[in-house]
């Protein structure tokens, strides 16, 4: 990992911490009853989406899934737009049409996530197909959960990507549960990465809580894709530290597992790493954290003051005219 510069390390830290801070605030807003419907977070898994998205170039594309807050931030969806989205405001990413991170912004290279898990995998192959047809050296990163890999669209996407050697890297956030369903009821293999063998797609399993590992694997496989060598599959092993959504107490997860994984917290451990490796001082980190905190509070305030859309806005934008 010698090749990751200190600047990049610090940038990774910033987005990682911003993601954690924003989502912790989402949790609070949810508990305060300010978020209508449900709220989902990536608590404990933030390294994955931050890592895979920061490794991209500016004009690459992402097809995220609903635990990829980090990717939204890295690609410059502002905290204001994020909180406004959760609060159903006109100033949110989708202007109130959808909630949470069910959103996209084509100008920032983000394709909107459809709830239906793995639906974004075939979409990602099409993005890559466009790049390949036009001879562009761009790549696309797509992500889904361990659960999503059981869906047919996962299969159809990986197969097509491999047949046509498309510049796409598929990520899987393997947080060991699909809602309440443990891996043993989802698949009969030990590593999700084993699924890729069926398509002759090179795959690897990385520690999803190690942001440098995720970042490196992403960099490496994007490079492969850019050079015309086709798709890759990266399983990021991690653990979902909150319930499936913020209302879920997740009693089905054995306590010991959570305790064990708590020690592997991707944010805390990365902070320690940076200090140990003398990339940064703890004072400097505290400063960054403070800035993040105030940025987040400002965004919450902005969003709470933002107007709701009007009822009749419902009728706008069904068709592009």
């Amino acid at each position: 990992m010698a090749e990751i510069s200190k600047d990049v390390m610090m940038e990774l830290y910033y987005w990682l911490k911003l993601t954690r801070t924003i989502e912790d605030r989402v949790t609070i807003l949810y508990r305060q009853g300010k978020i209508q419907g449900g709220a989902w977070t990536s608590h404990g898994m933030e390294a994955i989406s931050v890592g895979y998205s920061l490794a991209l170039e500016k004009d690459d594309i992402i097809c995220p899934y609903f635990r990829d807050m980090g990717a939204f931030l890295v690609r410059r969806i502002t905290p204001k737009r994020i909180f406004s989205q959760y609060l159903g405001r006109k100033t949110g990413v989708t202007g109130g049409k959808d909630g949470n991170v069910h959103a996209g912004d084509i100008n920032l290279g983000i394709i909107g996530f459809p709830s239906h898990l793995a639906d974004n995998y075939p979409v990602a192959t099409g993005v890559a197909l466009a790049f390949k047809m036009r001879g562009e050296k761009r790549v696309v990163a797509a992500c889904t959960g361990d659960g999503g890999t059981s869906r047919g669209d996962f299969h159809e996407a990986l197969n097509f990507a491999s047949v046509r050697k498309l510049p796409v890297v598929f990520f899987c956030n393997n947080n060991q549960y699909a809602y309440s369903t443990p891996l043993r009821f989802q698949m009969a293999i030990k590593d999700v990465s084993q699924r890729a063998i069926a398509y002759n797609i090179p795959s690897e399993t990385v520690d999803g809580n190690d942001i440098l590992a995720v970042y490196s694997a992403a960099k490496r496989t994007y490079q492969r894709a850019r050079e015309g060598e086709g798709p890759s599959f990266i399983e990021c092993k991690t653990m979902r530290m909150h319930g499936h959504s913020e209302h879920d107490a997740a009693k089905y997860v054995p306590k010991e597992i959570l305790e064990e994984w708590k020690k592997k917290d991707p944010v805390i451990n990365y902070e320690k790493y940076l200090i140990e490796k003398k990339v940064v001082t703890s004072e400097k980190l505290a400063e960054i954290d403070k800035k993040i905190k105030s940025e987040v509070e400002e965004a919450v305030e902005f969003s709470e003051k933002s107007p709701y859309p009007e009822g009749k806005d419902t009728l706008e934008g069904v068709y592009k005219i």
Binding site: G37, G88, R89, L117, S150, S180, Q186, V318
Partner: protein, 324 residues
């Protein structure tokens, strides 16, 4: 008699049927240890074991297909879609395999698909849809959509005992909001029979699901304006109870159809057409449909409120129709 919520009625129906018939089993995402996203099968795992309350991989097409296969072997599977929105992933197995098995080669396919549907819960475009019309245009299927605990329990039991594929649309807005006193004994509500939820002379409102409650609310308010509304709750959408529709319209001579699904191509269209085909001579005014606008279901509260038909929409339309 005992008071019971809409969701309890559904749980009870399932539990009683599983106790009555060992071939009845449940499969779907998180239905097992967790008891389902809405907790319909809470406690079932402990009671019936992991093979009769089967957590599946996230694969709607696959587990619907599996239900079909087991049904062909004489089992009575009940599939839970976590949200009705995800039924789109199993569309092909439902319309091309389940619905056509019996017609094509005599393969009886008694599966039940439970699907929590509808909006008003701030679920946004992917957790609020009303998918009924997609399946309504598919001979071989049956569709039920109860509005009350009694109907929910009785129809689900009837669906499980039916020899055909039945989609049970459970309006999730009603789950914990609607209660009713129902009998303690075993009963079913026959598939294909509508129910008059309020008698009236002036206008018939034909509706189902959560909108039954909206219609009743409007009917109450219209009392003050001396418009006497009859509320016909379809309960079963496929096959439609044409007789009940026609006889109510023959009595009131005016018909309104109310549904939460978007208007174009909704089930209201079929009902309207049937009325104009069969009882045209009895009509004293146009047949009016009240439905959601033709958009996805928006998330933000003011938009969702705008989207879902409400009592005041019904009242306005009723006043217009009464003037005919």
């Amino acid at each position: 008699m005992k008071e019971i919520s809409y969701i309890e009625a559904i749980s009870e129906a399932l539990k009683e049927e599983m106790e009555r018939d060992k071939d009845v089993f449940i499969l779907g995402e998180d239905v097992g240890f967790y008891g389902g996203a809405f907790k319909v099968t809470e406690g079932f795992y402990e009671r019936f074991g992991e093979w009769r309350v089967l957590d599946t991989p996230l694969s709607e097409s696959g587990f619907t297909g599996a239900a079909i296969g087991s049904a062909l072997m004489g089992m009575r599977p009940v599939v839970e879609m976590q949200f009705a929105d995800f039924i789109s992933c199993a569309f092909d197995q439902i319309v091309n395999v389940a619905a056509k098995n019996y017609y094509r080669w005599g393969g009886a396919t008694p599966i039940v698909i439970r699907a929590p549907y509808g909006g008003n819960i701030h679920g946004g475009p992917y957790h609020s849809q009303c998918p009924e019309a997609w399946f309504f245009h598919c001979p071989g299927l049956k569709i039920v959509a109860p509005s009350m605990p009694y109907d929910a329990k009785g129809l689900l039991k009837a669906a499980i005992r039916d020899d055909n594929p039945v989609i049970c649309l459970e309006h999730k807005y009603l789950y914990r909001r609607i209660k009713e006193n129902i009998p303690e004994d075993d009963f079913i509500v026959p598939i294909g029979k509508a129910d008059i939820k309020r008698e009236g002379r002036d206008i018939t409102i034909i509706t189902y699901g959560a909108m039954v409650h909206t219609a009743l609310e409007a009917a109450k308010l219209l009392e003050g304006k001396e418009i006497d509304i009859e509320v016909l709750d379809l309960r079963t959408l496929l096959p439609l109870d044409k007789e009940a529709i026609f006889s109510s319209v023959k009595k009131t001579n005016k018909a309104m159809i109310l549904h939460e699904a978007t208007k174009t191509g909704g089930i209201g269209a079929e009902i309207s057409s049937l009325i104009s085909e069969e009882v045209f001579d009895h009509l004293d005014g146009p047949i009016i449909r009240i439905a959601a606008p033709d958009t996805p279901v928006p998330y933000s509260p003011p938009m969702e409120e705008f989207f879902i038909p409400n009592a005041s929409d019904v009242i306005k339309a009723a006043e217009r129709l009464a003037a005919y």
